[in-house]
């Protein structure tokens, strides 16, 4: 069990105050469950030791700076464990009196651990799990989803494809359950926005290592054959959460087409080159602190803790239920370097947020796209809208 304690001690700096100064301690924990992982296809995507935790470190600094003006101190513990130690790690966090828990876990672990946390009245921020069911029939009243769902990512891609007038899609998905789930999100997105899956194929995960010395020779021969004779399509959409094949698709397709999804144009919450809406300062702060570029997990953990910090500031409370109620209320809004405020959907606790479309170097576009309208917020065109979610936990 790896355990790092990060403490930001606030020092009061002045005499007079316009804000009620009531000392508050806000203790949070980031619990990261690390399953055995294969190396990624691209070594640019190597999993850093401080994945996610780096976001917590920055959030403690950001919240702590604001806290100095209010008498609030933030202390976030970070814990990384293999799956079999997850329950014991959560028990230890709860035994420490921590009631704000950021989970970096898969769907099944998240639900189980959130239910355990609920017994002690703790609020869980989901910074990783993307299952649509967690925002639907499997939702929980003590869970705020800061990570976008697969449906939100798929809808972000679908809107761009249709804005480009690429209505016919060649969907290639992996064979593992999470790839299948993502493929389902793309099928649903096609139906929702008027696209059509012209062709669908499964790329089987036959196991083995991801990279070999001259693997590209084989790939160059296999991929064109695999993608040949597909029905007419304008774009290839790759559903490959397992990172088995998608990076090979661009340039190896039988019919040359743009690729979106798991390769080519990817839907992301952040990337290291995102500079719009004041993000440059955020990127610089992160890089100075951690010595590397930001990853989505870092941003999602940072954002979870910023949601907590913002709710603490506005309510002057560190009570979990008060924080949760405020976060899903109409009062809550937060700037997150996305150009519009991010807020929570009161029907399922999902954070509304724009999704960046990233080509590996720059932000190509941002969804929701122009013209996708909604009676409440264009952000609700991404993911499960109120009538589409069967979640009743927040009623």
């Amino acid at each position: 069990m790896q355990r790092i304690l990060m403490v930001f001690l606030a020092a009061l700096m002045w005499g007079g105050m316009s804000i009620d100064l009531a000392a508050l301690e806000i203790k949070a924990a980031v619990l990261r469950i690390d399953p055995p992982r294969l190396a990624p296809i691209s070594r640019y995507e190597k999993f850093p030791e401080d994945n996610g935790f780096a976001g917590a470190q920055l959030a403690d600094e950001d919240n702590g700076t604001t806290g100095t003006f209010l008498g609030h101190t933030y202390e976030t513990t970070t814990v990384a464990v293999p799956p079999e130690e997850a329950d014991a790690a959560l028990d230890a966090i709860l035994a420490d009196g921590i009631r704000f828990i950021i989970l970096m876990a898969d769907d099944a672990d998240l639900t189980r651990l959130a239910d355990r946390a609920a017994q002690d009245g703790a609020v869980v921020f989901n910074a990783q799990a993307e299952g649509v069911a967690l925002r639907d029939n499997e939702c929980r009243a003590n869970v705020l989803h800061v990570a976008p769902s697969r449906a939100m990512r798929a809808d972000a891609v679908a809107q761009f494809a249709l804005w480009k007038r690429w209505p016919r899609w060649f969907l290639i998905h992996g064979s593992n359950p999470e790839d299948q789930a993502l493929a389902g999100a793309y099928r649903r997105a096609a139906k929702k926005f008027g696209g059509r899956i012209a062709e669908e194929r499964e790329f089987e995960d036959t196991g083995g290592s991801r990279r070999t010395d001259t693997g590209h020779v084989l790939v160059q021969r296999q991929l064109p054959v695999f993608t040949q004779d597909a029905d007419d399509h304008e774009v290839v959409i790759a559903a490959d959460e397992s990172d088995v094949f998608a990076p090979y698709l661009p340039f190896h397709l039988w019919t040359p087409r743009p690729v979106m999804g798991a390769a080519g144009l990817r839907p992301v919450t952040i990337h290291g080159a995102h500079e719009a809406w004041g993000a440059t300062q955020f990127q610089r702060r992160f890089e100075e602190l951690t010595g590397r570029y930001i990853r989505e997990e870092d941003y999602q953990v940072w954002l979870s803790l910023r949601v907590l910090g913002e709710a603490v500031i506005r309510t002057s409370s560190n009570d979990p239920q008060t924080i949760l109620d405020y976060a899903i209320s109409d009062e809550f809004e937060l700037a997150a370097f996305k150009g519009v405020p991010v807020t929570f959907r009161p029907w399922n606790g999902q954070l509304r947020q724009p999704i960046l479309l990233y080509d590996g170097r720059i932000t190509v576009s941002v969804s929701p796209q122009d013209g996708f309208l909604h009676q409440v917020s264009p952000l609700d065109t991404l993911g499960l809208d109120k009538p589409e979610s069967s979640c009743t936990a927040f009623n």
Binding site: S18, T66, F69, R284, R314, E333
Partner: protein, 324 residues
């Protein structure tokens, strides 16, 4: 640039009774400053101003132009006649907005990267103080009695009231998301803080000691424009306090607010992504920088109408007009 020397020389030889005023516009992407004649609305010149010029202001005697060259981590000082750089001022990293003491010294600079307000002596060119503030300091305002400098921090969402005497923060006020700009009324009794992402302007009453009390909030509504696009950024108030003009960023409009009732009277359509505002000294005109249409809009203050637009450099950001 040679012809400019000539015109400057001519101006000094021929004693002109009333010199035309010049508007200086910083072009964030073009790395230049555009000079516009405020009588004829002709572009007089465009000169290099360093990398990513944003904040722009002018000395009380109208002779020195201060430009925050954000990517050069410095403030560049230019001669307003010759457009030559006189010297630079130490600013701390990534300066964006600043406010000049009405006497011309010192300059109070917001450093977004370091959570600091830097106080720089414009004569000795040294840093007098660094004041720790909230995360991503941005907007800077100074009270007319010069006792307080107000800084807004974009991620902390506060207005910090810094004493100009001891550089200590005396008051903090929470405002809505991403506060961008702070502006006092000329009588010093009110302070306005714009919140870009919150979509509001927080109005504070200022008492005799300089202490703030939140008096209310101004919000905006334009039929057919998504509420998310109504993002208040720059703000100016007429000398008599009767009219408040607020640039609404991607809504491409400037709101006109009644200074007494704080009601929005009108929305003036200007160029795209309207950012900062600047009055001519007589306050007959208000200039807006329109970052995405590469122009400035001239607003007739009395009539509350846009009367002209002038093409400037790439992505105009800030504007200041020479004093009389």
């Amino acid at each position: 640039m040679k012809s400019l020397f000539l015109s400057a020389a001519l101006a000094s030889v021929v004693a002109m009774p009333a010199m035309a005023n010049k508007a200086f516009v910083s072009n964030e992407k073009g790395n230049t400053v555009t000079v516009v004649d405020t009588d004829t609305w002709e572009v007089l010149a465009e000169f290099d101003a360093g990398n990513r010029p944003r904040g722009i202001t002018i000395s009380p005697d109208g002779k020195k132009l201060y430009v925050a060259a954000s990517d050069d981590d410095t403030v560049r000082v230019f001669d307003t006649e010759t457009y030559k750089e006189i010297h630079t001022l130490p600013s701390g990293p990534d300066p964006e907005l600043f406010v000049l003491h009405p006497s011309g010294n010192p300059l109070y600079i917001a450093n977004e990267d370091d959570n600091l307000v830097t106080v720089t002596d414009t004569e000795t060119r040294t840093i007098l103080a660094e004041v720790p503030v909230g995360v991503e300091p941005e907007g800077m305002g100074i009270s007319p009695d010069t006792k307080f400098v107000v800084n807004t921090s974009e991620t902390t969402n506060m207005a910090h009231f810094i004493s100009t005497e001891d550089y200590k923060i005396k008051h903090n006020v929470l405002v809505d998301q991403r506060p961008r700009y702070a502006q006092y009324t000329d009588d010093g009794k009110r302070l306005f803080v714009t919140s870009e992402i919150g979509g509001t302007v927080t109005v504070m009453d200022i008492d005799d000691t300089g202490a703030p009390t939140v008096a209310g909030k101004i919000s905006f509504e334009v039929p057919g424009v998504l509420p998310e696009w109504l993002q208040p950024v720059g703000l100016k108030v007429t000398a008599d306090g009767s009219k408040i003009f607020i640039a609404l960023g991607p809504a491409n409009r400037v709101a006109v607010v009644d200074g007494a009732t704080l009601e929005v009277k009108d929305y003036i359509i200007v160029g795209q992504r309207v950012w900062q505002l600047g009055f001519t000294p007589d306050q007959k005109y208000l200039l807006t920088t329109n970052g995405n249409s590469n122009d400035i809009t001239v607003i007739d203050v009395e009539k509350e109408k846009a009367i002209k637009s002038v093409q400037v450099g790439q992505q105009p950001w800030g504007v200041v007009v020479t004093p009389n």
